[in-house]
Amino acid sequence: MIFQRTNRLQDSLTRTRQSFFGRIAGLFSGGDITEETWEALEALLIAADVGVATTIELVDALREQVAREHIRHADEAQDLLKQQMVALLQAKTRRYLEGDGRPLSVVLVVGVNGSGKTTSIAKLARYHQSRGDKVLLAAGDTFRAAAIDQLAVWAKRLGVELVAHQQGSDPGAVLYDAIDAAQARGANVLIADTAGRLHTKHNLMQELKKIHHVAARRLPGAPHETILVLDATTGQNGLAQARTFSEAVPVTGLFLAKLDGTAKGGIVFAVARELGIPILFVGTGEHAEDIAEFDAVQFVDGLFR
């Protein structure tokens, strides 16, 4: 099976765990809770890109609970923290493309430059293929040099069809045509690439709105998923990205890319906490198979083990 790749996720989490979260685990192994425990815990969460506000909220809530329930052992506190972190990530959990029975599902993939959109699209395509879907890709990044070629290489490798226009053409028109093509060719999943854009570029965010609108006009209900690809190495700016992208288009989920490095991806806690956007997938390598459905328990468990 292709998607028995959880070991890859485990591998990458192992690396994470050996570092900062590993040290958190160390803090909690045995002994009583002291003031030092809290301070070190805050520092460690911040070092994992969880962010100041989320860290403070998590730790304060834990302290309160610990006091209320007269908990003295660090071990117990650790379990509670894990539960909290899982709860935070699960608050808005929802199945990817829930509500089956559509003839065609359109998945729009957005994100800042270099976050890993194209590779993540290849992974999503592979994921759908393994579920027996007929996939069509739309080369919606008409801006960056050779972005279309990059997706074309993936399409060929994966054996899926690609709808592409010339570089510099209107991305909305690409998506419009791609929906036509998907319907004509009987594809049931259309995954659309978009050009990387910094969320601070007003015009480009307007363009994204338009692309989203074009899809909705061509096929009511589309796009059925608008996935924001977030680079796991991103720091606090990830929250600004998620916030601004979801102001422009209704972002329905996150794809946390590049989790195979040493970065912890802790910003997802802030995104979940403030925006309630669910994390749907994680990417853990350069191969199309390096994708896993997001599992909050596993994610948090892995971080602490």
């Binding site: 911040i46 040099a145 990205q241 802790g266």
Partner: protein
């Protein structure tokens, strides 16, 4: 939830300036806030700790007491320490016998290929003959991407497809540069994880074979706490000579640059500030520090204004400013140029004193003011624009009706314009865009 760093710091300093003298407790309270703000800017927590310690040492005691106001002194010290940490800028090392080899390395998606093209363009503009080398054989179409960019810029690209090992491609490229009298060779290597041993060995291989005079780490300005580890690991494998920070045109505050510099001592060299191939700026520590501090950055603003100006137009404008024949028609044109620089509220953020009041203004207020001024001028006849002195009472009423403004608004604009013309007569050259628009409350 998270305000940006400059708003945060502004808040802190506003609070501070209300007090006469700065006690140790005040300094500590302020520094706690500075610490949080820096952490939110992705400055590595270890670096923050060091920086705070240094500032505290300087801030508590005599130095502060001697200063004009305690708050100003704290700003100064934090700013100075940020500048000191960011370090001195350094130029590319192009001494010795050409071809000079510049290798770019970094994580996937940090912006190496775009940066390679930008760097090649910059070097050609300074009289070099650059050769770009497509050494990323892994990412699909990375080679094509560099080739397309090379074609756009008319800069040759050395590529051997994706089957030849990158170290060999690089060595061949340097041979070709030698024979073809290229003065600089820029190696665009594939993105790789710092912990991917095999890929890091490939980089070491390239370095062994072509001994680059510059090994530049390309890092994303949005990188979080992990930036330090990435930089340390790259530096351990292929000693780095410089850092290029990319995507600085976003709203990330550049904490990663501060961290990388502090931990590895690798000098910061350039900032990538846009997707276009000319969007590469030399790093200037004061500016980056100011941006972090929220003190504004008028210099960048002016520079951008200059960049947005059409050269020919700029010359004409300068001539007009010199001879004080600058009229409302020119003013309108200049306003169009200003618009090209981006949303006004973003520009305001870069100007001293404005970042604080920005959040109190409705976002589109200044845009509205600008539109209003534009509407008033557009309601004038070309003759009136060229010579506003002819605008009498009835003309004013007509202009007010035409633009939906009041007569007093028209008067206000004309008065301000007169004052500005006076000012221009006093100026020898036309460089004062900041103060210029400042007069209009923009």
């Amino acid at each position: 939830m998270f305000e940006n760093l400059s708003t945060r710091l502004q808040d802190i300093f506003n609070r501070l300036s209300g007090k006469g003298r700065l006690s140790e407790a005040d300094v500590d309270a302020a520094l706690r806030e500075v610490r949080l703000a820096l952490l939110e800017a992705d400055v590595n927590f270890r670096v923050v700790k060091d920086l705070i310690a240094r500032v505290r040492e300087r801030a508590v005691g005599a130095e502060v007491m001697k200063s004009l106001t305690p708050a100003q002194m704290v700003i100064k010290i934090v700013h100075e320490e940020l500048i000191a940490t960011l370090g001195e800028p350094r130029k590319l090392n192009l001494s010795g016998t050409p071809p000079h080899v510049i290798m770019l390395a970094g994580l996937q998606g940090s912006g190496k290929t775009t940066t390679a093209a930008k760097l090649a363009l910059k070097l050609r503009q300074s009289g070099q003959r650059p050769l770009l080398v497509a050494a990323d054989t892994r990412r699909p179409a990375a080679i094509t991407q560099l080739e397309v960019l090379g074609r756009q810029l008319d800069i040759p690209v050395h590529s051997e497809g994706d089957k030849v090992p990158p170290p060999r491609i690089c060595a061949n490229a340097v041979d070709r540069a030698r024979k073809g009298a290229y003065s600089v060779v820029i190696l665009d290597t594939g993105g790789r994880l710092h912990i991917d041993d095999e890929m890091m060995r490939e980089l070491e291989d390239i370095v062994r074979r072509v001994s680059p005079s510059e090994v530049l780490l390309v890092a994303d300005a949005m990188t979080g706490q992990d930036a330090v580890r990435v930089a340390e690991e790259f530096n351990r494998r292929v000693p780095l000579t410089g850092l290029i920070l990319t995507k600085v045109d976003g709203d990330a505050r550049g904490g990663a640059a501060l961290s990388i510099r502090a931990v590895t001592s690798v000098p910061i060299m350039y900032l990538g500030v846009g997707e276009k191939t000319d969007a590469l700026e030399p790093f200037q520590p004061e500016r980056l520090a100011s941006r972090i501090l929220g003190m504004g950055d008028v210099l960048t603003l002016i520079e951008r204004a200059e960049a947005a100006f059409d050269q020919e137009q700029a010359r004409k404008m300068e001539q007009k400013l010199r001879t004080a024949t600058f009229d409302l028609e020119d003013f309108l044109e200049q306003m169009q140029q200003l618009k090209k620089m981006g949303p006004l509220h973003q520009l305001l953020e870069m100007m001293p004193g404005f970042s604080g009041i920005k959040s109190q203004l409705p976002e589109d207020l200044t845009e509205k003011q600008m539109k209003r001024v534009e509407a008033i001028i557009r309601s004038m006849t070309p003759e009136e624009r060229r010579d506003p002195r002819i605008i009498n009472g009835s003309r004013k009423r007509r202009i007010a009706r035409g633009s939906g403004a009041t007569v007093s608004e028209v008067n206000q604009l004309l008065n301000q314009f007169r004052q500005m013309q006076q000012l221009m007569k006093q100026m020898s050259a036309g460089r004062g865009i900041g103060g210029f628009f400042g007069r209009f409350g923009l």
